[in-house]
Symmetry: D2
Subunit: 305 residues, 4 copies
């Protein structure tokens, strides 16, 4: 077995000089207050061997990474049915989102842009009687810990700055592609963004995908192999906003990032890895996170290309 | 060694029932005349072992697949410099192309949409004194045969229906991102689209990418490993028009298709594969080609997700 | 004095054969139920001489015509200040509205497209403590009657189908250009659209503009001459959705239409005229209304071109 | 009769202090070289009485004003037929032009945006065997002088900077709405923009519209009354780029401007007026020209609103 501990410790030392090169997310006050000089790196393998360094156990706001969890919960129940309401193709730049929605009659291009995630959250609400509790329970079952919670301070801050998402949700609803009350959808959405998890939690939870849909903690087949492949392909092509193509090149792993500074990705059949560092690059991805991932896959020569 | 011959022969039998389900490209008369009931499948490995079935040696119009060759020729000479003029991210739907160009001041999102390919061809013209000859020579060197040529009938037909590409080229030129005469750019572009190659040729030529940038015929390092990885990531995220995400899911290999009905893709470190069947699905990709690729990667369980 | 009575009676006979050529608005159920075979025509002059024919005294839903009243109420209080928040230029087709809003950072192009009217309503709410009552009072003062009211059935139906306007309002609010609670803005907006007035009322109310800003009933200077001219220029260039240019040509008077089937316009220094007939043409303007106006201005040779 | 001479002399003195407040067009070198401190004002009446002040007889590049002449030449021959190929409604901001063209399948919104003018020029070429000569002859017949010519230096400069218009023309041609060779269309278009006329010429030529379509020099009915009204309505709603609504308000006359600094407008049944001053405001209209027109219509209280 490769000694990942040594690898990530070296990477930790190599990337800390980048502190100060990025900028903490400031679109909501609750995120702007985070101490930028934090960095955690965790590698987890299918046999549940965890290596960690730095702030690996500090919980932070996972933000858009939560879109993978809600998508998983919906896909496992309705499968291919979902793709009648949300596309599976990369989106152009953010500027186009509203034009695209209008042009394609309220059908978002993929579940990782906000428009698509809102439709997924809407379906979550239709499928699970108590969606917020169900989401927490699901993530806990993947992490094998009850220490996963919503940061209500962040959720509240999100809700106070949700005008753009309210606009998106009402716009999609005007095409009939959101079925529940918009206020409810936005409430759940703001909570899922405010999910607090550590790198250790995130890496553990993504073993599901590395393990072809089976929760390695209890052997449960959460997703079929085909569903797992589908979500993996989506992460590989759309997981990093307008830097998805670059991430594919520099790192070459399916994964997802959030503006809280977290990135989690996985190598099918092998391992998962999570990095957290709050300063973002101009695309909204953790600057140090991407550096760390690039070094890791270069070191162990594991890119898919 | 896996017996790919047996695999592709079985696949050949399985997919021929799909004849009639797609539609031959008809945007130019020269392509519309092609006999739809043709199918060739070729697998080529790094040790130059070729398995083939059906119309594997019939030359056809490679169309957009040529974008990979011109990109390779430009990247090998100017490397990262190119990415100041062309983006590396997936594009939204075709509808957006002109809006996107205007919004991003003449910078196409990637080298595989027409706008980006026109910029690459423009650079090819600046870098190679006799660009059309240089392209043929380059492709011949990858295929190890002189039997590669431009189908002048197709090239002429392309030129007569190039108004949209003329518009794109002049629009980009108005932003200063095309440096040569537009007529010249379009002339070379129409010729590259009209490049005639067989599945055998295509599979052989793509071993370059499977072989980390080294031409396996003569050991020449055509691209650096990093350049190869970059082009591979681009093919994996943008190689199949608006079906790129779906191809990533169903097949999971970097590759490129053309409206002539050809698809070529590769498994890094292992093999390349080309399929040709002229009938297209609604995204402009060979319907039977995608079926064949999906079966192949399912059979040998080689998807990257 | 011209005998307008005779003119409009003849026009009434000439245009009734068009019954059945248009289509009653059906985007909300409350409007779809209106009996299509109704037609009222009223001409009112500065000396308060009224000629009327047909269903001239039947109240109907004025819909977008109310945008002129709210605009007038806001302009009279804050004048040119408003134009920092709303543009004064014709808009392209409706399709562009959201793109335009995004491109111009939440600044609607003019106060007669929905986005602009929402901003005006938002300002009305900021300026008048009880905006709904203030609007009714204002319109009553122009009409010289208390018989103006909100059709609460229509207002409720509007509110139930306001997703698109909710989206617009939240989107504008995300740029900081709506200051009040979106729910409140939409509530007032749905009420203003549901204002019920007859042709007689509408013609009387528009004498304000024909009379250079002075209410002819009581001599009050409601708007300055310059403000009146500004609102008139806006009606002449933007008052009829995507048929504004055609109305300028065919009729050549400043005016405003609503999807309830009402049209009201005026000749500066002379008269106002209102027509109501519920069937709309493909642009959302009263089909018979436009026919009647064209005949009227042709008859009395009063176009401005 | 009003003594316009006195009025325009006073206006001349009032507006010259604005010299330096605008900026000469610099998109082509030939225009950038013009001496900015020039100002001519001419008023011409239906009885052919001309008042002039300043640089009234200096020829300058009429640029977009020529779009009115080509439109007139085409409308007089094919009438309403033209409106199947070009719309009659105001356009949104310039940013949208390409989106709009794509959305509306190559149908430009009106004949005064470049896309629309290119379609008009295309029809001119189809209708007149020697279009450039025909245009000169037509304008000469309106001005009653042979001293109208193309500034070949400007035409050449236009042609060298025509990439954006080439793009538009090819784009429209790809939808089948340009019938002639694009090079030919652009050649004629660059020449019409380079038409050199003085204020005296322009004012005289626009008496055609003030005179209900009859050339006052020879009594010829060039346009029908209805055609004249149509072109007038277009000028009133679309004649001043993104300042058309403001011009309607501040001046209230149908007219047309060009980036050469010329503005010409008319009062139906009365007079025409031309102003030339090369410095432009941010909308591309002559800054001093608009000031002069506003003062004029305020003085003689003749706005249409």
């Amino acid at each position: 077995m490769t000694d990942y501990a040594e690898v990530i410790e070296r990477i930790y030392r190599e990337v800390t000089p980048y502190w100060g090169a990025g900028k903490v997310a400031d679109y909501i006050p609750a995120l702007a207050q985070v101490d930028p000089r934090q960095l955690g790196i965790v590698v987890d393998t299918l046999d549940l061997n965890t290596c960690k360094v730095g702030d690996a156990d500090v919980p932070f706001s996972v933000q858009s990474i939560s879109k993978v969890f809600t998508l998983t919960m919906v896909v496992r129940l309705i499968g291919e049915e979902l793709w009648k309401s949300v596309g599976r193709e990369p989106s152009g730049n953010p500027f186009n989102s509203l034009v695209q929605l209008e042009y394609e009659q309220g059908l978002p291009r993929n579940p990782f842009i906000n428009a698509g995630a809102l439709v997924v959250t809407d379906r979550l609400i239709s499928l699970y009687p108590r969606p917020k509790e169900a989401l927490i329970d699901f993530v806990r079952s993947l992490c094998g810990t009850d220490d996963i919670y919503y940061d209500h301070h962040v959720a509240k801050s999100e809700r106070l700055h949700a005008d753009r998402n309210m606009a998106l949700a009402y716009f999609i609803k005007s095409f009939g592609n959101i079925h529940n009350d918009v206020e409810t959808v936005i409430d759940v959405y703001c909570h899922q963004c405010a999910l607090a998890m550590s790198c250790t939690d995130l890496a553990r939870s993504f073993l599901l995908f590395a393990n072809r849909g089976v929760n390695p903690l209890n052997g449960e087949q959460v997703l079929t192999e085909s569903q797992t492949k589908r979500i993996g392909a989506l992460m590989a092509t759309c997981g990093f906003y307008d830097e998805s193509g670059d991430f594919a090149y520099r790192v070459g792993l399916p994964g997802k990032s959030g503006v809280g500074g977290g990135i989690v990705a996985y190598m099918p059949g092998k391992l998962s890895m999570a990095v957290w560092s709050p300063e973002l690059n101009s695309y909204g991805n953790s600057l140090i996170g991407i550096e760390a991932f690039e070094r890791f896959t270069t070191d162990i020569r594991s890119s898919i290309f």
